[in-house]
Symmetry: C2
């Protein structure tokens, strides 16, 4: 029974791609079959998993035009049990093109319906509430929201919750919050702790107990085309993502 989770937040640089890569890797490490769909024209998830630039076709952009390409688009990564559909800059054109499609909010949903044999499908969303993110949310069972422990990121959360509510009311009544993940937490910094306190007060158990510390190994790993887990298994960031994976699995059994 596949579970489709969008990693979304329109605020930029909050750890969407980092969470996609490292959570997916942690789940693959405990024998789950995982697929990442890179829906961000920047293609950071593709790069962070070492997918060569000339190996990112067909992307979800080409599949919008020709569904039959799905099987060709699913590529291997360095991690057994983790596959990826890569992204390239053509995907930026999809944002404008999708505006003129008949059922422009449901295009990803019809593509994902053809995908089989995965326990989890993670969609890495771009930093915007445009049609690529909307399509991902419409096609998903849940959305996981990385939240940087900073003021601007906190401010954007209410706009995101509003968008999720609208999508639930108009396009996908089953859409739920998978969880809110506090990222780049720096215990020494009072702002970080204030944001954490505020978020736990407002959102209660929707907020993961696991938090991700600011950890330089996490930001170094992508330059080696590897997840932090492969780059430095003992790093504080890697351990935190393994803890997160345990919590995500535990929550699946609860629902």
């Amino acid at each position: 029974m596949k579970k489709i989770i969008s990693i979304s937040n329109q605020k930029g640089g909050v750890g969407k791609t980092t969470t996609t890569i490292n959570l997916a890797t942690s789940l693959a490490a405990v024998k789950k079959n995982v697929l990442i769909v890179d829906a961000d024209p920047q293609g950071n998830a593709s790069t962070g998993l070492g997918l060569a630039h000339n190996d990112r076709r067909p992307s979800i952009y080409e599949m919008i035009h020709e569904k039959r390409l799905l099987k060709e688009g699913i590529k291997e990564t360095l991690i057994p049990g983790l596959k990826i559909i890569g992204a390239n800059t053509d995907l930026a054109a999809a944002e404008i093109e999708l505006t003129n499609f008949e059922n422009r909010e449901f295009v990803f949903k019809s593509i994902f319906a053809e995908i089989d044999n995965f326990d989890f499908i993670f969609v890495d969303c771009p930093p915007a509430l445009g049609l690529l993110t909307i399509n991902s949310l419409v096609a998903s069972n849940t959305t996981l929201i990385p939240l940087q422990s900073e003021f601007f990121a906190l401010e954007g959360l209410s706009a995101l919750m509003q968008t999720i509510k609208l999508i639930k009311e108009n396009f996908n009544s089953d859409l739920k919050i998978e969880g809110i993940l506090l990222t780049m937490l720096d215990k020494r910094n009072s702002l970080s702790s204030l944001v954490e306190k505020d978020v736990r007060q407002h959102f209660g158990d929707q907020v993961y107990k696991t938090t991700i510390p600011r950890n330089v190994k996490i930001s170094e790993a992508p330059s080696h085309g590897k997840p932090a887990l492969l780059y430095d298994t003992q790093a504080a960031g890697s351990i935190a993502y393994i803890e997160l994976a345990k919590e995500v699995i535990l929550n699946q059994n609860k629902n």
Copy 2:
């Protein structure tokens, strides 16, 4: 003679809004007349300058429909000599609506033509290469590119340069690079220094000598609705933005 500068980078969280607010404030502090146009639906520049949510109309979105609203949209800030046109979430609709406009790339240009009495106009762009950012670049004399000293940010730079070249060839032949600004630099972290070395090698004197250090006072300031310069004048981040303003002014005399 007004100068219109877009602060742009499709990579999220690299310091676009922080640079817009603090560079504009530093220039206002040396008696320049400055306007910020918040072109990001997140409205972070509006929040960071203490503009109340109910004081953000008309935004550039309403002006797209009715140009006469320009004078009403220019609001005061706490800083003498610095004004702002605020943004609200309606602006997200502009991204989709603009696709069907006649000259969809030139809408901002015709609005900005009506603005007078400013030395500098800064446009804070969203983290995307969509029509809001394209409109800003078409309407601008130059673009200032904040670059976080991290691997994913560096990777995105070539896509941005490519977009700037396309805009220069098709819509705005005068568009130049105002400068590339290294942000959130952490001298203790080897990745930061590697990125700085790499960027200076590739882009030479397009890269400001001034760099902005990672500084917690910068991220605390927006929660008080103030620029870092007002929140803590002696902070390393505030001093760096004052240095940047000096360099920006010096460069104006060179060109």
